[in-house]
């Protein structure tokens, strides 16, 4: 049993034992056989009707106050002026520039994460060196560290006056760097458990048949890892889309240059253009949900072909 990698909790869908990939809502909960009752989940017996009803009621109030009402208000505000107002807000030049920058940089960051995250997971699982457990623990640092501190930390080394001589403040590279930092754990923690459980005999068999290392990796290991990589990538992307704290200090938030979607929304709120802010927010949110949902679907499809 692999120890629970800390940011595995970041993966959607804790519903259903080990398969921590994918979204919570959807079929996953239902098609997982559990030790519960005949319907496979629980046996539906929440004992103590009155207490349960009260508890569920309280929970409903909590979730409504906290999540449901605000989201409803968001959707309402975004569509307040009808489709024309929505479209107008979303297609304003600054908004488009911000969204474009966000999408492109996030995509690049995710691609880098897919490669390096897999590499790091590989090294952490398959290699031995002193201090490995410390390195493993540090992978979760971007999750534990407040985002604004991440920005400050990166600036200390790569900003003005840093020892390396590189100054990335107010550049798009800064945005990319900040996003790389905060999305580091996702692919690593997604791939690690899969690698741990991977049976080495397949690889050895391929190797004994004359396959070189790269071939073994490409044809045996990678297909098994793909669902996990995709799932980690989706999480990275969703996170990168909405990232605010680490970017806001480091990038200078120059409109049309280094202003990302979340900063644009923030500025609109500060300028009291709430409806415009809400419209762009909805776009960002829908993007993230689509990516998360899509990757979940893809990774579930992929996992059916896995040995």
């Amino acid at each position: 049993m692999s120890p629970e990698p800390a940011s595995q909790a970041l993966a959607p869908s804790a519903i259903g034992g080990q398969g921590r990939r994918g979204l919570s809502f959807g079929r996953r909960a239902r098609d997982r056989p559990g030790r519960g009752g005949p319907d496979g989940i629980g046996d539906g017996r929440l004992r103590g009707r009155a207490g349960t009803a009260l508890g569920a009621g309280l929970l409903g109030v909590y979730l409504s106050v906290l999540v449901l009402l605000p989201i409803a208000a968001l959707l309402d505000s975004a569509t307040k002026g009808g489709t024309s107002a929505f479209w107008h807000a979303v297609s304003s030049p600054e908004a488009v520039a911000a969204l474009k920058l966000t999408l492109i940089v996030s995509a690049i960051v995710v691609a880098i994460n897919a490669v390096f995250g897999t590499l790091i997971a590989w090294v952490l699982v398959r290699d031995e060196f002193p201090g490995k457990s410390v390195v493993n623990a540090l992978i979760d640092l971007p999750f534990a560290l407040p985002t604004v501190v991440a920005g400050v930390v990166l600036l200390a080394l790569y900003g003005k006056g840093g020892p390396t001589g590189i100054d990335i403040t107010f550049t798009r590279a800064a945005v990319g760097l900040a996003l790389l930092f905060v999305t580091l754990p996702f692919v690593v923690r997604s791939v690690q458990p899969v690698l741990l459980e991977l049976d080495g005999s397949m690889e050895e068999a391929a190797s004994s048949l004359g396959a070189g290392g790269l071939t073994v990796f490409r044809r045996i290991v990678l297909p098994n890892l793909t669902p996990a990589i995709l799932s980690g990538a989706a999480l990275s992307f969703a996170r990168a889309l909405g990232e605010f704290g680490s970017v806001v200090l480091i990038s200078g938030n120059l409109p049309f240059k280094t202003e990302v979607g979340s900063v644009y929304i923030f500025n609109q709120v500060e300028n009291d253009n709430v409806s415009a802010a809400a419209s762009v927010s909805v776009v960002l949110l829908v993007f993230a949900l689509i990516v998360l949902g899509g990757m979940t679907w893809l990774s579930r499809r992929g996992s059916r072909h896995v040995l």
Binding site: L59, L68, L119, A144, L184, G242, F266
Partner: protein, 301 residues
């Protein structure tokens, strides 16, 4: 990850007999090639981590304590800094118990309940991962702000949510909502209802069953979720930034204080506060890693 659980796939260093057999020679080459590749991968991975994580974090500690402990202590004990620290602690102290209790409740509903709306619960649990923190803040303002849905009602009753603690509680609770639930659900799932049903046949009511059977079994999952929730709540920035109004000395949490100091070119103050948060983050990491093993070992009764 304990080292005993990993294996170096491939050949370990087994001394081979010398031989001029070309097959053996090729084996030696392959051996050397494998080691080279392994080392290459290792250095590539570690180099990346060093450049991205290690060096920046080390730099910040260096820069902060460059001129000794005194300026740091000075910066950290500034009234606004202290207020920010305690405000952050206060928020965590309110939000974590709330999300723990309700998180367990959500997990119980998902794993032990039978009703049609489970997909909605799942969606609510996934939302904080898909939604940007500033959007969280915005949506809360849209409901509880002066021009929001409840704006008139709230001001008529003299309740201030936005630009005040309650709003910040809501924002922090929203973003840190899923963790306890997500950690508890698989544990509950693996646990199954056998023990709970047995308790029922022995006459235990729901509360007794929960307290004596369910809760002890899920405790490490819950604790782990609590650690994650605490980390997330402590570090929250974007959502709180919007709902708090960032009023110095009043509604400024420690992360907001870091930004404030930074924007006012007080790098000492910013770095000092950042280091405090970083140390708390390291404590969280320690907790996470210690508990990670526990969660697996103790999760089933």
């Amino acid at each position: 990850m304990s080292s005993s659980e990993t294996a170096v796939i491939g050949r370990s260093a087994v001394p081979r007999a010398r031989s001029t057999d070309p097959g053996r020679a090729r084996g030696h080459e392959r051996e050397a090639g494998k080691t080279a590749r392994r080392l290459g991968l290792r250095f590539l991975a570690l180099g990346y981590l060093l450049a991205l994580l290690g060096a920046p974090v080390a730099m910040i500690f260096y820069r902060t304590f460059e001129h000794g402990l005194a300026p740091v202590w000075n910066a950290v004990t500034q009234p606004n800094a202290m207020h920010a620290f305690w405000l952050s602690v206060e928020l965590v102290a309110i939000v974590v118990p709330l999300n723990t209790i309700f998180g367990i409740g959500i997990a119980l509903l998902i794993e032990r309940g039978r009703f049609r709306g489970k997909w909605l619960l799942g969606l609510i649990l996934d939302l904080p991962f898909a939604i940007s923190p500033v959007v969280v803040g915005l949506s809360l303002v849209l409901v509880y702000g002066r021009a929001g849905w409840f704006g008139d009602w709230l001001s008529a009753h003299g309740i201030q949510v936005i630009f005040s603690i309650p709003g910040m509680v809501l924002a922090t609770a929203f973003v840190s909502l899923p963790f306890v639930a997500r950690e508890t659900v698989p544990v509950l799932h693996e646990l199954g209802t056998d023990a709970e049903q047995a308790a029922a046949t022995l006459g235990a009511n729901a509360w007794q069953t929960f307290r004596k059977v369910t809760l002890p079994a899920i405790r490490w999952g819950v604790v782990y979720g609590v650690v994650l929730t605490t980390a997330r709540a402590l570090g929250e920035f974007g959502a709180v930034s919007i709902v708090s109004g960032r009023l110095e000395g009043q509604t400024q949490t420690l992360p907001l204080y870091v930004q404030d100091r930074f924007e006012n070119f007080d790098t000492t103050g910013a770095y000092a506060a950042a280091v405090v948060l970083a140390l708390l983050a390291f404590a969280t990491l320690l907790g996470m890693n210690l508990l990670a093993k526990r969660t697996r070992r103790d999760e089933v009764v």
